[in-house]
């Protein structure tokens, strides 16, 4: 009897085993099919899987908000002499005289890496990372057939507009082209004058001008994200991490120019833009690329803050606009403070909640975009540190718990973070430290960067 019972039990176990195998196979096959069918068309499904929901409110403005003026950003304020001490230091910035063989990451090898990174943008659109518009390939001029450079120049604005079947086809086509040309992320949002610079200056040519010089009324802004190298950013702040920054700017300039040409051949006026013409982060939030953060940078689900942003202003509007997303960044930033702790200049706010006005205590606040709820940075302190070390910093980017390589376990932790209540975020932050992520000023990281053959 017992033997019979045992055999029945074993038979049941074998059946269970087969069932289990069948379920596992089905689950595996379903996951594989889902992964293979991932495309731009299925972005919504992708976002759902990433734990992203449409943001109810991406921005909170008060009634004092005014579009920001380009002359007030820290680069222009320094260049134009409104911050004389910084300007004096800036004049010696970016030169080979800053090379310091004794400091890890500041050697001639590292310096060469940085300058090589910036070579593309400085050749194609000089000054655009510092927010200077209408320069190089980011020209506002919409060349027509009459302005051909040479007989075989076909990259001019076509007179008639291409007719897409529907908005979905148009949206997919533009994003597909952007990704082919090198963008890692792409979103489309309506143009919003609140996010555009109110007026422009070009300190290199000592010019001031306004939107009346822009060649058309932009209807949409195509916002593109470009990942910066994780390994290079583990060395921040050094020339090595800045090499990754410069390389991202070079890729932005190349890709946004190519996308602008693509649009013009389809008959839509377009202007490529990097840090110029408008504010990248609100446009990127609006285009659904990510959320704002304590350090003021965009946090994306894919790369955290380790990316740079480019955009294309265009009259193309036959598209489905992307929606802002939320995946728990603001809640996490309220408790984390890791960027504020890592900031060598103490420039990042330690306030628990974001505010409409800066609270950093610096008498200069003209560089803050007031009237919108966010954590306001003391940009004078931040940029002052850049001048002190003769390099872009990026310690906040390296320290951020969202800055992780694209491995599965970080995506899992991100989803747990988004789903967990506030007090657990403290634990997440502590675990990030314990597990050894987010180190800055780490001389060993520079050696590892140059030594590591796996990433070659």
């Amino acid at each position: 009897m017992d033997r019979e019972k045992e055999e029945n039990s074993q038979a049941l176990n074998r059946r269970d085993f087969i069932k289990l195998g069948a379920v596992a196979t089905t689950l595996g096959a379903t996951s594989l099919a889902a992964a293979q069918s991932q495309s731009i068309k299925e972005l919504a499904e992708h976002n759902k899987q990433m734990g992203i929901k449409a943001a109810e409110k991406a921005f909170e403005f008060d009634n004092t908000y005014k579009p920001f003026e380009q002359k007030n950003n820290i680069f222009m304020a320094t260049l134009t002499g409104r911050l004389p001490a910084l300007r004096k230091k800036m004049m010696g910035f970016h030169g080979p005289g800053d090379i310091d063989p004794e400091t890890p990451g500041m050697d001639r090898l590292d310096y060469a890496l940085k300058e090589g990174g910036y070579a593309g943008v400085e050749y194609m659109a000089p000054g655009t990372p510092a927010s200077i518009p209408n320069t190089g390939v980011n020209t506002w001029k919409q060349r027509t057939q009459a302005d051909k450079h040479h007989p075989f120049d076909y990259q001019y604005l076509f007179e008639d507009q291409y007719h897409f079947q529907d908005k979905e086809q148009a949206t997919n086509a533009v994003k597909k082209a952007a990704k082919l040309y090198g963008a890692d992320l792409a979103g489309i949002t309506p143009r919003n004058p609140k996010f555009d610079y109110a007026k422009f200056i070009d300190p290199l040519h000592k010019k001031e001008f306004g939107w009346e010089e822009f060649p058309f009324e932009p209807k949409s802004v195509i916002v593109l994200g470009f990942e910066m190298d994780y390994e290079a950013y583990t060395t921040a702040p050094t020339y090595v991490s800045e090499g990754a920054t410069g390389d991202a700017y070079s890729r932005i300039t190349k890709t946004t120019h190519q996308l602008a040409v693509f649009l013009r051949i389809l008959g839509y006026k377009a202007v490529a833009s990097c840090n110029d013409t408008g504010l990248n982060i609100p446009y990127a939030i609006s285009a659904g690329l990510g959320e704002g953060s304590r350090m003021g940078l965009l946090i994306t689900p894919e790369f955290g803050p380790r990316l740079r942003i480019g955009k294309v202003y265009t009259e193309f509007d036959v598209c489905n606009y992307d929606q802002p997303i939320q995946f728990g960044v603001t809640d996490f930033c309220e408790r984390c403070m890791k960027c504020a702790d890592a900031c060598p200049a103490s420039a990042i706010s330690r306030d628990k909640k974001p505010s409409f006005r800066p609270t950093h205590g610096n008498k200069n606040t003209f560089f803050n975009n007031k009237g919108v709820k966010k954590w306001h940075l003391d940009a004078e302190k931040c940029f002052g540190y850049w001048m002190e070390i003769n390099a872009g910093c990026g310690a906040c980017i390296a320290a951020c718990p969202y800055n992780k390589p694209g491995f599965w376990h970080h995506r899992l932790v991100d989803r747990l973070t988004a789903a967990s209540p506030g007090p657990l975020h403290d634990l997440m932050r502590e675990m990030d430290d314990i597990f050894g992520y987010g180190n800055t000023h780490d001389g060993r990281a520079v050696k590892e960067f140059w030594k590591n053959k796996d990433s070659i």
Binding site: Q10, N13, F17, L20, Y230, E231, T234, P405, F407, W408, H409, I434, F435, G436, Y437, E448, N452, D454, S455
Partner: protein, 99 residues
């Protein structure tokens, strides 16, 4: 010639490990007759063991050795504890036998 990336090789071996672990559990069940508590503990142990291997190997691949080491501690140790508890339930100790 690197046809497969490190993460692809890792997930292949995780598949092998998962299959072997499930096989071993069913083999042991034939020998020792697991009850629901033994199934739960050994199942948790297998899950944590596989998670531990996946976490630590992924951390090595991304160049974060400290995260790999801590992964062994945080996920590997509980896995061992679950296996030991399951063993105690399945194979009673000498004291239990004397009783």
């Amino acid at each position: 010639m690197n046809i497969f990336s490190g993460i692809e090789i890792l997930f292949f071996w995780l598949g092998v490990l998962t299959t072997l672990s499930v096989g071993v559990l069913f083999y042991l069940n034939r020998a020792y007759r697991f009850d629901w508590k033994s199934w739960s503990l050994s199942g948790m142990g297998v899950f944590l063991l596989i998670f531990c291997v996946a976490w630590s190997a992924s951390s090595v691949l991304e160049g974060e050795p400290q995260a790999a080491a801590l992964g062994l501690v945080f996920f590997g140790c509980p896995a061992v504890v679950f296996f030991l508890l399951a063993r105690r339930l399945v194979i009673p100790g000498k004291n239990a036998e004397n009783d």
